[in-house]
Structures are given as C-alpha cells and as structure tokens.
C-alpha cells in the first residue's frame, strides 16, 4: 500500500483550486469574509457553527469540507484511524490581536470567551475533527513556511506505523487579510496504480506551484 493524495484543495485570495482545477474565482476581489461566504455557498456547505469560527478556522474548515464533500466512504474508516495534521506560520495572531484589544483598555474591559477560545492554532484541527468525528492523531505544527518535507515525513510515518489509515494534512495560515490553505486527503491505496499521486515532497512541490 502507498500513501496517496486522493483529493486536495488550495484556497488563496484569488481562487479555489480542487485537484488541479480552478473551481471558483474571487472575480470581484472581495475581502476574506465575503469571499469565504461565497465559497461556502458555492460548494453548498451547510454547517451553522462555521459562522462562529475565526478566520483561520474558517479557511481550514472550508478547504476540509471541499475535499470531504460527498465522501461517504470515509465513514467506513474507524474515527480513531483518521488523523488531522496541519501546519501554520502566524499561529492565531489576528485573533490574538482582536482578543488583546478587549483587555488593554481597563475602562472598557470585556475579555470574551468566544474570542479567547480561538487564540490557539490547533482549534482549527478541533473544528475539523468535531465536524467529521475524526479522533485519530492530531497535531498543529508551526513553521515560517510550509515545510513539505517535514509534513510528508511526519504523516507518512503515522500511516506506515498503523496509527492512522487516512489523514487530512497540509497548511492553513491567516494574517491581516493575507491567507492561504493547502489541504490534502491522504489515503492508503494499492501500489503502482496509474493515477496514484504519492504523498511525497516532489509531488507536493508540483501541486503547491498551482496556487502561487
């Protein structure tokens, strides 16, 4: 068996790419919130909790919804055999700044638990796990740039060790209206099939180029 990319989604401020095809464009050059709302509608996502999420969670969540859409087969895999491994650069800096603003002015002091809970980057993983009932390995790594060698090694090791059979893996980052996510569904597939894209740095490099 080989660990292969069976679906992927890239979202940047211009477009949504799914499996190499531009599936949706930000033709009006909308800011993040508007653009994501139109992506949410376009892909017919139905999850009211989405509107409570912070921007980092929103972008990671939408990409995960797109790659898992109509995937009934994944429900046959045991919840504790599906992992979510993501990497990010700026942690939750936007939400941190928003939260800090609620405590800096002592005459207007209103720390908000609803904002505070989103000041941890791994919460984006939690949101994806809750939505899909995934209970396997989950870790949030921080790196200045997407470290494809590290993430592919890490995920392949988890899958080869038998800890998980499937994994949502990749990158999600949001800072001051600059954002990008690249999320992959990785599954064990019979080796040497013609269309297999193994989850290896050389393949990831090629795919990532599409979103640049």
């Amino acid at each position: 068996m080989e660990n292969c990319i069976t679906k992927y989604c890239i979202i940047n401020p211009e477009e949504v790419i799914v499996d190499g095809n531009i599936e949706y464009k930000n033709t009006d050059g909308n800011p993040f919130g508007e653009f994501m709302k139109s992506v949410y509608r376009h892909f017919d996502i139905k999850y009211p909790k989405y509107f409570k999420m912070d921007n980092l969670c929103k972008i990671a969540f939408i990409a995960s919804e797109i790659i898992l859409k109509d995937n009934e087969k994944i429900k046959e895999t045991a919840p504790n055999k599906i992992g979510v491994i993501l990497q990010n650069s700026h942690s939750t800096i936007d939400t941190d700044t928003e939260y800090a603003a609620t405590i800096i002015d002592k005459s207007n002091y209103f720390p908000s638990p609803a904002i505070f809970v989103y000041t941890l980057p791994n919460v984006m993983i939690g949101e994806i796990c809750i939505r899909n009932k995934f209970q396997g390995e989950n870790t949030c790594f921080i790196s200045k740039e997407f470290d494809i060698e590290f993430i592919s090694d890490y995920v392949n090791n988890l899958m080869d060790s038998g800890k998980i059979d499937k994994c949502i893996a990749g990158w999600a980052d949001y800072v001051e209206n600059n954002y990008k996510t690249m999320i992959f569904l990785v599954e064990k597939i019979n080796e040497n099939q013609k269309d297999n894209i193994s989850f290896k740095p050389e393949n990831l490099k090629k795919i990532i180029k599409q979103g640049e």
């Binding site: 650069s89 405590i103 638990p113 000041t119 791994n122 939690g126 796990c129 949030c140 921080i142």
Partner: protein, 386 residues
C-alpha cells in the same frame, strides 16, 4: 528501531531553577502557588505560580544580554543551558535537533509595545530561531502549538524523529509565560480556581495557571548514556475527542485511544503500570473525563496524581516538566502526593496518591488534554523493565 534514552533535564518554575529544587519541593509537598495582585497580570486577586523575575535576571545575565531576549526566550535559553551542562551534546552539530512547545510564545509583546523587538518576534518560529541561534544549532527546529498537550506532543515527536534515525539527539523545550492575556481568557471562561487548584477533589472549582519552562534531552546515542538502567521512551500517541472545542469529551474515549495507542507502540501487553501522571487541571469536566478514560483503559487501580497544585497549569511546559517529574520518580524510587486532593470528586474510584511514599516504580504513563479536544499519552520505563 532505535532505543530512545532520556539523558538530562531542567525545570524552571516558581519552585526553583533546577530539576533538583523543583523535585525536592514536590517530595516535601511544597507548592509554588501564591496570590498575585499584579495589575499587569490580573484585575482581581488571583492564585498563580510565577517565576521570580529578579532571580531570572541574575541567572540569565551569566548567559546573555537581557535586552536581546524576551522573557520566555530568557527562560528557555537558561533551561536548555542548564540541561546541556550535564552532558556532552554538541548543539552546533547537525545531529542535534531542537523541538519547542508553547501555546502563546512571546504573547507579552502584543500587550506591551514598549519592548524593543521587531513585530515579527511574536511568531513562534521567530522565538525558536532566536533560541537555536543562541546555541548555534544549524537544524530547522520543530515547533508544536497543540494547546495544553503541546509538551507531551513535542516529546513524542522528538522520540519518533530519533527512532527514524533522522537525528541522534533531541532537545525538547517547552514553556509559557503568564501575562494578562491567558489569565483574563480563563477568567472569562470562569475556569480559574478561587484557591490553589484541587485536582480530582470533590470541592475542585477550576485551574490555577502557572509560568514555567522545561527541557528534556533525548538521545539514541547509547554512548552518551551514563546510567546503568536508564529511563527510555517506549511509546506515545495523540488523539481528538471530536466533541467540543473548549470542553472535554463526556466519555473519555479520545484520551483512552491515546493511552491505548501509546501502550501498543510500547509493546506493553500487560497492565503493570506503576504510576499515572494525570493532566488533572482541576476543572470539573477535565478531571471527570480523565477518570473515565483511565477506567476505559482498565487502569483505575494504578496510583495516579496531578502535579498542577505544585506549579499550576504551565501550558506549553506542563507536559515536559510533568514527564521530567515522572522520570525522577522512577530514579528516586518514590511517588509524589497529589497535592490539593482530599475527597474523591470523580465518578471512577481512582487510586489517588494521598501521601508521599518511597516506593520502587519502573514505569509511568503521562496524559494530557486540551482545548481543541486534543489528548496525548506517553509511556516511559526503565530500560530493563518488562
């Protein structure tokens, strides 16, 4: 597969700047938690465990210039330097990798803009780069921000990297500071205890936060090991509750999966576990969830404690300093009292350690759980145990 040895360690908390001073306090039931009225930390008096700033200043000056490093960077550099003193690891070598765990890193830079650091410095990778540069390490560090399980996650990741032969030595350093950011957030959740926290107790009413840094050095190089029967990493795993982002599972199934996978990886078929170092934050839901997970794993008869009433919940440091305490419990043949505990306050009759005891133990499990629904478990034992 390579055997992963624990080599040396350091703990910096309110209870001192060495593992020895911290562990001696634990043995004697001494807590570092005290009430603070500092308006830079909290708007109402709060129990917490803080590192002495004067002591940090005096100690750090021997290593570097304070103006060049943030509070957390100073704590980390000091902790790593102290751990390194006890061994011959060359940090300049490409064989040594650094791993960092933190929830909020240099978050004080966001609140206090008078500090002379670049905007970029708030990023965890900037902090990690500064610390690696101090030790002239050429390897790209691994950084983990997995809420309250970060420290345990970092140890597991480090051990797996060494098992794959990618590096020979791993320096795992985790920590968080207490500024106003985190306490105010937990206060807004009404999750802060009105007294020093009481893990697993019937009258527990929330967490106590603490400041700390821990460093654990792991190696696959047997030649660096001086002990006859060293303590080794045997297995570790993470999981998710998939239940709620800010509340743990009601069943404990997520943490149970992590414990189960850690023991499978360890090849541990019998249930002879000598000690469980629980997460035990002293919130109603966490401790109850943990008790259920321990029962699901069939480990309810194993002696268990939480160390949170000594140091508070030190977030990114917690998993590391609590593993270090477990390692020293094996080395010094003792089990530490679960401070703050009087009457069972969870639905499973756990075997909570009510007094310090000299007792031979050969292994332990450390568990952790956090926001985002994440859980982790790691298993250590003596080299010559089952």
């Amino acid at each position: 597969m390579n055997t992963i040895y624990t080599l040396t360690d350091n703990i910096i908390t309110s209870l001192g700047f060495t593992t020895e001073s911290n562990f001696n306090s634990l043995k004697n039931g001494i807590s570092g938690i005290a009430q603070t009225f500092d308006p830079k930390i909290t708007q109402t008096p709060m129990f917490t465990s803080l590192i002495d700033s004067e002591m940090l200043k005096n100690e750090f000056t021997q290593y570097g210039d304070r103006v060049d490093y943030t509070r957390l960077e100073q704590m980390m550099i000091l902790s790593i330097s102290k751990a390194l003193k006890q061994t011959n690891i060359d940090t300049k070598s490409g064989n040594t990798i650094f791993l960092f765990s933190s929830t909020k890193g240099n978050i004080d830079l966001l609140e206090n803009r008078r500090q002379n650091f670049s905007r970029e410095r708030i990023n965890l990778w900037a902090l990690a780069d500064e610390v690696c540069r101090f030790f002239k390490n050429p390897v790209k560090p691994v950084i983990i921000s997995n809420a309250c399980i970060s420290g345990v996650s970092a140890i597991i990741t480090a051990a797996h990297l060494l098992q794959e032969n990618k590096y020979s030595n791993a320096i795992v350093c985790g920590g968080d500071i207490i500024s106003e950011f985190t306490p105010s957030g937990f206060q807004s959740f009404k999750a802060i205890s009105s007294n020093p926290c009481k893990p697993f107790d019937a009258s527990r009413d929330g967490i106590t936060l603490g400041e700390g840094v821990g460093t654990l050095i792991l190696t696959s190089n047997k030649n660096l090991v001086t002990e006859k029967n060293p303590i080794i990493f045997r297995g570790g795993s993470n999981s998710n509750d998939a239940n709620h982002i800010s509340g743990p599972s009601r069943t404990g199934d997520g943490l149970f999966f992590a414990i189960q996978n850690a023991l499978i990886e360890a090849g541990k078929e019998n249930k002879n576990i000598d000690y469980i170092s629980a997460h035990g934050t002293a919130t109603q839901y966490n401790d109850e969830m943990e008790a259920k997970a321990i029962a699901l794993a069939g480990l309810e008869d194993v002696p268990v404690n939480s160390l949170k009433a000594y140091w508070g919940h030190t977030l990114g440091a917690a998993g590391i300093i609590e593993c270090i305490a477990g390692i020293h419990s094996i080395k010094e043949k003792c089990i530490i009292q679960s401070l703050g505990y009087h009457d069972l306050g969870v639905s499973v009759p756990l075997h909570i350690i009510t007094k310090f005891e000299n007792k031979e133990i050969k292994n332990f499990i450390k568990t952790a759980s956090g926001f985002g629904g994440c859980n982790a478990a790691v298993y250590f034992s003596e080299l010559n145990a089952d």
